[in-house]
């Protein structure tokens, strides 16, 4: 056995050598791209938060993913933003005016706002930033938010380089003309995809832009270790005041359960709770005290694809499906409260929301409705392919399918395609008979559900639903510059769509986070977790 030890000990030594050979702290071996511009002080107040992946881009106009937007809220600033109550508030803008016809906006920028480089933010920076986003070569998603500006289409069609509808009146004044009145134009400007970056950093060409982004937000870029973490440091010159935190660390953790484990071991200060862990967290004496929830501007809905399945054109069939699914039971017992049961197409806290709408679970009535439509006990009803994306949605789909089989006697097959296949099927409208997915707001307007999902002229009306009465009310709402009247019109549109079961509004999403004791000021609005400018943490 002495010889065995002789063999084993060098082996263990070798293992330690290999393991320690390149781990972590040696910058020469750290995965690139690493662009460190700051030395981390030994006593810093840092907040550690998990994001799912490297950002697609640090440039807000190119952001499409949740992690892009979360970074954008900390690194960048736009003309407007949304506060904790999801109200639109001026950000880079000091004041603004709208012309009587609602088609011209004049914005006066703050004169104390600077880029992270220290250079003042000017009206020209905003104009050039928007011109950059509208250039189709960049494929910026922010372009769709700006398309109502005069001259936007010319840039998109490569007929012009300059955005003719935007006039730089003086260094801090910007005049924007719209091709038609757009009452929610400034609401779009509160969304990060319209926020711009310093012109000289990208317009003049900056080879390191990808790894050394600049912005104007409460935090500036410090370092990025790809697939490991991104570190932002407090911007002492931020026009909104220096953040209480010295640093915000974004650990890149794709797996929600791994992130949850990291929170438990103290490696994260804030973590989104996976639906699978919600019940355990609620029952845990310690963790339940750290649980915080906010309403999310998200509608989870079940699409009944009328473009593919003829029987879904029959209101009685749609009503039967609607009333055969027990949202409350699925939400409470299957998903442990990950969603709140939906009553209509507009989530709470959004103008147009109405808690009085919606049908209740009534399997007997559902069965009768299906019989009235010519399918007693589900006889001869076509087999339905029910597609689901996402773990919670898949679980919900399984439960809903089971209820449909039991209550209506029909055959429902649940499929779980990969994201790209799922989205392609939605667009083509020829693959999924029925599907469940979520639709989250980017800015505060019910048009994001009632127009985008249900209007006959919308490219994202995935179910081929057409209702001229609804379309008329939606069109009216989108043109109305009177906020009270607009909210009333959205309520009416919501009522029409819900009563006609345009789709099945299934649930309203929620942000559910665990927040360590000592961390204060963390909050989510309807759209996403707020930037960390107001967050503080005890040492």
């Amino acid at each position: 056995m002495r010889h065995m030890r002789q063999l084993v000990l060098p082996l263990l030594a070798l293992l330690v050598l290999i393991g320690s050979g390149g781990c972590g702290t040696n910058p020469t071996t750290a995965p690139s791209p690493v662009a460190s511009t700051a030395t981390v002080a030994s006593q810093t107040t840092a907040l550690r938060f998990a994001i799912a992946d490297d950002p697609r881009s640090f440039e807000p106009g190119l952001s499409v993913l949740m992690q892009d937007a979360q970074l954008a809220l900390n690194l960048h600033a736009g003309l407007f933003t949304y506060n904790e109550n999801s109200e639109l508030v001026p950000y880079l803008v000091k004041s603004w005016e709208v012309s009587a016809d609602g088609s011209t906006y004049t914005f006066v920028l703050r004169d104390d706002a600077t880029w992270h480089s220290g250079k003042p933010i000017t009206a020209l920076d905003i104009k050039q930033g928007w011109e950059r986003y509208l250039n189709p070569d960049l494929s910026a998603w922010g372009a769709s938010y700006l398309s109502s500006i005069v001259g936007a289409k010319d840039i998109q069609d490569k007929q012009a380089n300059e955005l003719s509808g935007v006039e730089v009146v003086d260094e801090h004044t910007l005049r924007v003309r719209l091709s038609q009145p757009d009452p929610v134009f400034i609401y779009r400007l509160g969304a990060p995809p319209t926020w711009v970056v310093p012109a000289e950093a990208v317009v003049a060409g900056h080879p390191n832009w990808v790894s050394t982004p600049q912005g104007s937000g409460p935090f500036s870029f410090a370092s990025w270790e790809s697939k490991v973490k991104i570190v932002l440091q407090a911007n002492p010159n931020f026009f909104g005041g220096k953040p209480a935190l010295d640093q915000a660390e974004f650990l890149i953790v794709p797996d929600a359960t791994t992130a949850f484990n990291l929170y438990q071991t103290g490696d994260l200060d804030i973590v989104a709770v996976p639906a699978s862990e919600l019940q355990r967290v609620r029952q845990d004496a310690q963790l339940s005290q750290q649980l915080q929830s906010w309403t999310k501007g998200q509608l989870i809905f079940i699409g009944l694809n009328q473009a593919k399945v003829e029987v879904f054109k029959d209101l009685r069939v749609r009503q039967a499906f609607d009333q055969a699914i027990d949202r409350r039971q699925i939400s409470d017992k299957v998903l442990f409260g990950a969603f709140a049961p939906a009553t209509g197409f507009v989530p709470p806290n959004v103008p147009g929301y109405n808690p009085e709408l919606g049908s209740s679970y009534n399997p007997a009535q559902a069965k009768q409705l299906l019989a009235d439509a010519g399918y007693p006990d589900g006889k001869d009803f076509p087999t339905i392919t029910f597609a689901a994306l996402g773990s919670s949605e898949s679980t919900a789909a399984e439960a809903a399918a089971a209820q449909l089989r039991e209550n209506l006697g029909i055959n429902v097959e649940v499929v779980k395609p990969e994201p790209s296949e799922f989205y392609e099927g939605l667009r083509a409208k020829d693959k999924w008979d029925m599907f469940i997915t979520g639709w989250t707001a980017d800015f505060l307007s019910a048009e994001q559900w009632l127009y985008l999902l249900l209007h006959d002229g919308s490219a994202t009306n995935f179910v081929g639903y057409a209702n001229s009465e609804l379309d008329a009310v939606v069109d009216q709402a989108m043109q109305s510059s009177d906020e009270v009247q607009r909210a009333e019109l959205w309520r009416e549109a919501n009522r029409i769509a819900t009563e006609d079961v345009a789709m099945i509004p299934f649930g309203y999403g929620q942000f559910t986070y665990l927040v360590k004791p000592g961390v204060t000021g963390f909050a989510c609005n309807l759209f996403m977790p707020m930037g960390f400018g107001n967050v503080s943490r005890n040492q």
Binding site: G19, P136, D137, W141, D157, W209, V228, N261, L262
Partner: protein, 307 residues
């Protein structure tokens, strides 16, 4: 020998090209395209879609795309990632490959070293309590999937005892649990193989002769029996190397290791073709190289093969 090396090199190259072609076609035949994934449910201007496809060459015929890929890959240029605009694929996978190499070397050493040591002990102490215990453990190691082992190890060592990190890659300690997870199954296979080979070798006449000459038992085992018992071990090493490479996909995700497996899983989900292809080339090359080295090692361990 030169002819042998030349023949092996040509076979290796053909396999490499074949693997990339298969990966190329598989990625494109799979339902869903990269733009659908990136755009999600949004409505996007057709001009943006067209510009995007043109920029990445996706508007060209598939075979032309493949030809361009091969031409560029020979120069070491794997193009730009779809999911991270402006980032070269090489910049994404090179650091990830180093991370994977680091922790998988640890796992490979654990598997080989542990397998040989356990195999020898169980062969020498046949039917003892050590043999029975290890046989049971080996059976568990072989049958329990990686993700279950990983979950159990995390639960015990990271969450309950809190003596090892739960996930991450910043210190050597972060690699211990993933390396053990990955090493368990090949270690179990190795131990079973070494045990069988050793038992068979220990019955040989030359071992009996060595004992009769009064050689110490440990000397007989280590110097005479082990060398012959190593031949089947090499076969297992060759086979298990592929499994170890494949193991990165699940384990790196669970332990949040920024290695090639995590990059590959993400790339597949996002339909990031250039990254998928680059990872395929790298993993195939690694596997082929390991097979090549194992073949050469056969010759060193077993002199009969020289003839």
């Amino acid at each position: 020998m030169l002819r042998y090396v030349l023949r092996r090199s040509i076979i290796t190259l053909v396999c490499l090209i074949g693997a990339t072609l298969l990966a190329f076609l598989a990625a494109r035949l799979a339902p869903g395209d990269p733009l659908s994934q990136i755009v999600g449910q949004r409505a996007v201007d057709p001009a943006i879609v067209a510009a995007w496809r043109e920029r990445y060459g996706l508007d060209r015929p598939v075979l032309v795309q493949y030809a361009i890929f091969v031409t560029n890959a020979i120069r070491g240029d794997f193009g730009l990632s779809y999911q991270y605009p402006g980032r070269a694929v090489v910049d994404i996978i090179a650091p990830a490959a180093l991370v994977t190499l680091r922790w998988q070397s640890m796992a490979a050493l654990l598997a080989i070293g542990g397998g040989i040591v356990l195999g020898m002990i169980t062969a020498v102490r046949q039917h003892s309590w050590i043999d029975t215990t290890l046989t049971m453990s080996v059976l568990l190691g072989v049958t329990v999937p990686d993700f279950v082992i990983a979950t159990l190890l995390i639960s015990l060592f990271a969450l309950q005892l809190q003596i090892l990190p739960v996930a991450g890659s910043s210190t050597a300690a972060h690699y211990v649990l993933p390396a053990i997870t990955l090493a368990l199954q090949p270690c179990a296979f190795m131990a079973r193989t070494v045990r069988a080979a050793m038992i068979s070798t220990l019955d040989q006449d030359y071992i009996v002769t060595a004992r009769a000459k009064g050689l110490h038992r440990t000397t007989i085992v280590l110097r005479h029996a082990l060398r012959n018992a190593c031949i089947p071990v090499l076969t297992i090493v060759g086979v298990q190397f592929g499994r170890i490479l494949g193991g990165a996909f699940v384990i790196e995700t669970i332990f949040n290791i920024p290695g090639l497996g995590r990059v590959a899983v993400n790339a597949v989900m996002q339909r990031d073709y250039p990254v998928i292809l680059a990872v395929t080339v790298l993993l195939t090359a690694a596997f082929l190289l390991s097979s090549y080295l194992v073949d050469l090692l056969y010759g060193l361990v077993d002199p009969r093969l020289h003839g």
